[in-house]
Each structure stands twice: as C-alpha cells, then as structure tokens.
C-alpha cells in the first residue's frame, strides 16, 4: 500500500517541504510507494516580503507572483482547493469542493491571516500592506500625501516581527527623499510596554526613533477606529487616543479558519511540539510556518528552517521508521533600516537576538534574497 502524504497550504513552508520530500523520496515516488498531494487555496504563490517594496515603489507587483504549480516538482499532485475541516482521528481532510483526502502523514502549513475586522473601524479607516492589493492601495495614498500626521499602529500577534520597524524607517526615508519630511509627523504605537516584542530590538530601536524624530506610544492596544470631520481617531483599550490623517496598520492575525472550525484551537494556531514540530498528541501530523503556536516569530525564515526539519524527519520516518532531528527554534530576519541600509538578527530557543549596526552590505544581501527566494521555494537554497 502506498503511503499518502497530504500537505495543506502552498506557501513558504508547504512548498519547501513538498519539494524536499520529492527529492528525498524520489525512488519511493517513482515506484508509487509514496504519493504526495498538496491542497492549497491559492494557485498563485506570492512573495510576501515584497509587499514592503511595492509600497515604496521599489518593486513591481508582478515580480512577486508565480504560478504555484511552476514551483512544485512534477511528482507532486496539486489540488487548487480550500481545506474546510481536518479530522486527525480519522486521518482525513475535507475540502470546499466536497472532496475527502485520507492520509498516512499530514503536514499543515496554512499560515496566518491579517484580520483588521477584529477591531471595529480598522478595516474601513485603516490601511495595511499585508496583502498585495492593500500595499498597492496604500502606495497610491502615500504618493498623494503631502502633509499631516501618519499613525502606524500594530495589533498582535502578527507575522514578520520586524515589519513594524521596517515600514516606519522606510516611511521616514520616503518623505526625506521627497523633501517633505518636515511636513509629515510619524507616530508609532505598539501594544506592549516597549516598541518591539523582542527586547534587544526594542532597545536598539529607541535611539533610532529619537534620531529620526519618530514619536511613539507603548501599551497601546487598538480598540476602535473612527473617522471624524478632521481625520481618523484610533482609540486604545487603555483609554488614550491618537489622531491622524492616515492610519497605517498591521492588524492582529489569526490562523486559518479551517483550524478553528475543526476545533483544534480558537485562534487558528495549532498546539505544536517545539522540538518535533508535530501536532501535540498526533504522531502523524506535522506543523510548520506561521500556523504553529510556538513562542517564536512568525516569519518566512522560521517557516524555512522548520520545513528543513519536517522534511528530514518525514523522509526518515518513511524510509527508516523514526524521525531524524529536533528543531532548535532557529529564526533569522533581515531588518531594512531605510532605503539603503539594513541589519539582521538571528536567534533560537536559547539564544536571544542582538542586532548589528546597519550597513549597506546587509541591505544588498536582502535585495539579492528578494530575487533568489524562488530557489528557496524550490528547495534548492
């Protein structure tokens, strides 16, 4: 009997895992001892870090999109469909098109979703850049923005922990380059007691904010957003409020609806063993990428490092009957500190991050990676 591996989600993690499995199980696939199926709700694959560059006119939207099938090894069966239910006891998943897929091994990589609708008024009066469409819409607003106050308000949790800093620094550079920075006030709000969730990054950021004249308020949890005749008002759960002419937001995120609807968790994050990356209590279900409940950053690099572990372990389980290695919590993020410099952080479960002084070199490396991402997705890099 062939072993069926079903991968739900064709983003960073799902695509890397599928391609690594296809390579590692080449023989088993050619003899039809293993069948790998991917089910993904999108037939296009979008490079999300590029949204920031689209926002500031540094990349064109079509550079960020590829056909999902073109990134997958031909031995992988691809279904363009949305999973609506996961039943780990019966070892099956159900889809919107009414299909049922049985599995021996399941890999869930359904990512995370920005949900502005969780905060009244945020969707109507705020602008985000976490989807291609919203980034283009905001780009047009920024082009026309000549003076006034911009508030940058974060909800949590959200993917890409460094994006709040990146968008803020890039915005500062954007208006400096336009020669109108003195007419634009930038106000940043963050939900916890410091300006970034990673403490060393927050410490590094404070003098940088001050040098650039960026104001901030911490312990600011967006509760309601309203439009008044003078602009937009963001009210916090703490009782304070920020008035602005343009509200840029990273809304709070949730995992996939199917995970909530399957009763796995209320917020869509899957209880995941931090070392084995298996769904707690289920030996044949692996989880990778943003949809885990792990206390680490939801980032493409996290998805990538987890995917290497999941693929190695699945290959070892199928070939040898047991997994090969543990995940150590490794994360690495570039941080763009404006239009021409960048830095990076790396950390794991036991070692905290420590940002280096920004340099042009790191910025170029990031620009290079933006083009090379497609090799990562194919499991080459």
């Amino acid at each position: 009997m062939a072993k069926h591996v079903v991968i739900v989600g064709g983003g960073v993690a799902g695509t890397i895992i599928a391609n690594l499995l296809a390579r590692g199980l080449k023989e088993e696939l050619s003899k039809a001892e293993v069948v790998i199926t991917m089910i993904s709700k999108d037939d296009k694959h979008v490079y999300q870090p590029g949204f920031l560059y689209v926002l500031f006119d540094k990349m064109r939207p079509d550079e960020l999109v590829r056909d999902q099938k073109s990134l997958l090894s031909p031995s992988i069966i691809f279904h363009h469909d949305t999973v609506v239910g996961i039943d780990p006891k019966a070892c099956e998943v159900h889809t919107e098109k009414g299909k049922k897929f049985k599995y021996d091994y399941l890999v869930v990589t359904t990512g995370s979703r920005p949900m502005p609708e969780l905060i009244p008024g945020l969707k109507e009066h705020g602008n985000m850049f976490y989807t291609l469409e919203s980034a283009i819409e905001l780009r047009e607003k920024l082009r026309k923005f000549e003076k006034g106050r911009i508030a940058i308000s974060m909800g949590v949790p959200h993917k890409c922990p460094v994006a709040p800093f990146e968008v803020t620094f890039m915005l500062d550079d954007y208006f400096n380059k336009k020669g109108i920075r003195d007419k634009v006030e930038i106000m940043y709000t963050y939900p916890i007691g410091r300006i970034h969730s990673l403490e060393p990054v927050a410490q590094w950021g404070v003098p940088e904010f001050e040098r650039r004249g960026i104001k901030y308020e911490t312990l600011f949890n967006m509760e309601k957003v309203e439009a008044t005749k003078d602009g937009i008002v963001v009210h916090s759960a703490e009782g304070s409020s920020v008035e602005c002419d343009l509200l840029i937001t990273i809304p709070p995120h949730r995992g996939a609806q199917a995970i909530m609807d399957s009763g796995i968790s209320n917020d869509g994050w899957i209880p995941t063993n931090r070392h084995s990356l298996k769904y707690e209590g289920y030996e044949n279900v692996y989880v990778a990428g943003d949809t885990t409940n792990l206390p680490i950053s939801k980032a493409g690099s996290t998805a990538h490092f987890e995917s290497d572990v999941v693929a190695d372990n699945l290959i070892a389980e199928i070939k040898e009957g047991h997994p090969a290695r543990d995940y150590d919590g490794k994360v690495m993020c570039f941080i763009e500190t404006g239009f021409d410099k960048g830095t990076y952080i790396h950390f794991n479960y036991t070692t905290p991050p420590s940002p280096m002084p920004p340099s042009k070199m790191i910025h170029w490396l990031k620009l290079g990676y933006n083009r090379m991402y497609w090799l990562t997705a194919r499991g080459v890099l």
Binding site: P191, G193, L219
Partner: protein, 75 residues
C-alpha cells in the same frame, strides 16, 4: 486565591498581556485575576499596563520557571 486563573504559560509574548486585557473586559468589578506566564516580559509589562489603565496590581511572584502575576479589576 484569585477568582480567576489564566494559564498563559504556553502563549508567546505578548499573549499573556492580551489574555489579561480580555479577562479585564469580560469579568465584573472586584474580580482578582491571576496570570501564569513563562514570558519574563509579562512580569514587567503587566504591572505597567495596570498602572496605565488605573487597575490594581496585587503582586508578582517568580515560581519554578514561570511568573504568577495577580491583578484586580477595581473599576
């Protein structure tokens, strides 16, 4: 003993603070709420948050690998 205990030991930063904010909203005035957190940042953030919103910070205690933070809804 607190009226309500929230075990946020598996949730990542800033999960514990978010859980407390939700509990403050959903419980009546007078409720004491204990939050258990493995995240060191919460032990600092939660008292600061309580001060900002004018709710009572009852105390914090470090236990075996986690923190217990107690708050009271007073308004």
């Amino acid at each position: 003993m607190a009226d309500k205990v929230i075990d946020a030991r598996v949730s990542f930063c800033p999960g514990p603070l978010m859980e407390l904010i939700a509990a403050m909203k959903s419980n009546p005035v007078g409720t004491t709420i204990e939050i258990l957190s493995t995240d060191k940042g919460s032990a600092k953030d939660i008292p600061e948050w309580l001060k900002k919103v004018g709710q009572e910070f009852v105390g914090v205690e470090e236990r075996d690998g986690y923190w217990s933070i107690v708050a009271k809804k007073i308004k």
